[in-house]
Symmetry: C2
Subunit: 425 residues, 2 copies
């Protein structure tokens, strides 16, 4: 079945707020296996809302509306929906009682326009709003389903989850399931080229790429009559992606981020980590510390933006800075070693570069970055050239640093494994 | 003139990402005095995009499209726009050269599908993308204007601001001008209540609030026949806001961020700054270091996530941690003092708190945060209670830390000034 959303609100059209309701509803509908092809934002305007509604009712099985259910005369979603369906508004006794209770509990007296919120289109059903005064409304009309929800996310989200989702679940026979294969260290177009044949062949399951900063995510989605059947359709494609991308795959779980995967790798290998950051200035540490429980492996980090901080906090030698400059392979190496020592950590990542917009030269242009990785005594430094504005460069460096450190830990551990096997001395 | 947006992307329809582009464009269009009546999200699907485009071209003067310009075969925005306008795609030589340069700089070789990004509809003009490989496209067609922009916000935002806005500004005869008064340290609803009379009385200029993390921005927008006339309409309202909000106003320049205002304050007062961060884990330093030239005032920072890091890097006493715990006013105070000492900085901000989702107790719940500010020998600590998920709490703490430090520097300097005047000993 198809679903579409109409989010009503002038504050969305003016950009006063971000439409988080649409993202929430979209994710939930995908989870329900409903196909969402359109989302529209329209203002509190009878004529334009009416036109939008009519189009939606022609092309979608389910229409979810949010906003415009408030008590003021600006709020006209309910009136317009009743008009589109050709039914009058009638008072819902239960809603009137709930509104009265809501005000009594708060020791407040409802104004005349609050009672407007007890009106619903004839033949519709009111949905209790546990977090506000505007009830939701459910309507079944000529084989279409229309749901009206209040605009505030803290009212809409629980109403949708607890009152509307259970009903929608009964409408779909098929189960939709998906797996996300997350890849680092390969660009979007190269990654896509590597699986072009799989994408061409797709119908069920489908394979779709999502580009993130420093990452590519492939989502495999299948429709089947049961969770098990959907999983069976997905598994061979997921295995094929893992085979083709090898250790570039850092997770196949939608919820797991790169920093989480790195944290898990560190925990598994019983390694602690630190970072010495110049141009990223704390972004690597900030990403790691977004992982709950990371304190087991990430205890301390250094923001060494100025030369004196590099010397003082992580022991970069004055002569290194003088001879090679702050943005150099040598400085990155000493930062990585020094950070590991100062934090008493097993692994360290260090970045030094020119994020711009000023400070670039012909020899050392904006975007030049050295990333040093220290793993249990050994250091690797890699030179990068990033493009974009200051923030974009810093985000790219942050992602590259996590990717590079993960790679070095995996390589190092692989070598250690080989040594133990006696294959390498 | 009217404008509408078509945001193309399956990831929006699936709720993988929140549509921040729409909010950004809406805010900018409001600033330009354009009337936005519709925003539509549609997938990477030729037929549905074509239908949406045709409707948009019938009812709006300007259509802004985002997304679907990537190198993959899923990306078909450009192809579909060309089809809707009845023109073929042709290669843009300048775009091809820019793509080649982009890859050369990175030492990478473009794949065949990268060149697809150099194609534009006949008669259109390519817009350089300084932050990615997909150029934007500008088309004038039968009195309508169509603009295509890449989907990633860090590419779309600078392209719109620097390449498209200046052109859109020329379309309106009247000059639209606006001033943004940025406020910190007062909640959104309180701030709105304080200027409700001004908002009610508005017609030209208009006054609109925008809530940001830890900040409220009021935009005053006027329409007039010249820049001077618009400025004259805006000035009295701006003055009134400054009078009502006092030092909560940190800037009246749209482009100036809180971290920039703080950097300028530090430079003006010739003070150096550092940070000791527990739950924010580098986010304060990362925000400061986003300001070009901040190295004059922000040289070093400490991520002291674990207790041992607090002790070792910024000298928090073991007995303080034992007696009061890591999340305490006492620890925040020692972190601030210790960070200033270790970095030899004049001012320091320190944060320690519980960002969740785990680690909360009845006495110290998730969201409890202490922010310590050290200014030239004196320390103030303030207790906060933030709501939301881990990331939201950490963002709120970061904003509050910058706000609090700014306030203490202003207060301290005011006192110093008074001392010099002999009014306080």
């Amino acid at each position: 079945m198809t679903v579409e959303f109409i989010c009503v609100g002038t504050e969305l059209l003016l950009g006063n707020i971000v439409n988080t309701n649409a993202a929430f509803l979209a994710e939930k509908c995908a989870e329900l296996g409903l196909s969402c092809y359109y989302q529209t934002v329209v203002g509190d305007n009878r004529e334009r809302l009416l036109a939008t509604l009519k189009t939606a009712l022609e092309r979608s099985d389910i229409v979810l509306l949010s906003g415009g259910l408030g008590p003021t005369k600006d709020d006209l979603t309910k009136e317009t929906v009743a008009e589109a369906l050709g039914v009058p508004l009638v008072e819902d006794a239960a809603s009137r009682r709930l509104i009265a209770d809501f005000f009594t509990r708060r020791g407040m007296i409802p104004t005349e326009n609050n009672w407007k919120q007890a009106l619903i289109p004839q033949g519709a059903r009111a949905i209790e709003n546990k977090n506000g005064t505007a009830p939701g409304i459910a309507i079944s009309h000529n084989g279409r389903y229309v749901f009206l929800m209040p605009g505030p996310p803290n009212e809409l989200k629980p109403m949708f989850t607890h009152s509307i989702m259970p009903f929608l679940r009964t409408l779909e026979e098929d189960v939709i399931s998906s797996v996300t294969v997350k890849i680092v260290g390969i660009g979007e177009s190269q990654a896509e080229t590597m699986v072009a044949d799989l994408m061409d062949a797709q119908s069920n399951p489908t394979l779709a790429p999502y580009a993130k900063t420093g990452e590519v995510h492939f989502r495999i989605t299948a429709k089947a009559e049961s969770e098990e059947a959907a999983a069976a359709l997905i598994a061979p494609i997921a295995d094929e992606l893992k085979a083709r991308f090898g250790e570039h795959v850092y997770t196949t779980e939608a919820e797991v981020t790169l920093e989480q995967a790195l944290t898990e790798l560190l925990m598994r290998k019983k390694l602690t980590m630190t970072a010495a950051e110049s141009c990223t200035g704390g972004m690597i540490a900030a990403r790691m510390i977004n992982v709950p429980g990371v304190s087991e492996v990430f205890k301390a980090g250094f923001v060494t933006y100025a030369n004196e901080a590099k010397t003082k906090l992580v022991g970069v030698k004055d002569e290194t800075l003088r001879a090679y400059g702050a943005v150099s392979s040598q400085t990155a190496e000493e930062m990585a070693r020094g950070a590991a020592k100062a934090a008493e950590a097993d692994v360290a990542v260090a970045v030094t570069g020119i994020a711009g917009p000023d400070g670039g030269t012909v020899e050392k242009p904006v975007g030049l970055v050295y990333i040093g990785c220290y793993v249990c005594g050994r250091v690797w430094v890699k030179e990068y050239h990033f493009g974009g504005n200051r923030m974009k460069i810093r985000e790219s460096v942050t992602a590259a640093a996590l990717v590079q450190l993960r790679k070095r830990i995996l390589e190092y551990q692989a070598k250690e494994g080989e040594k133990k096997d006696g294959r390498e001395q």
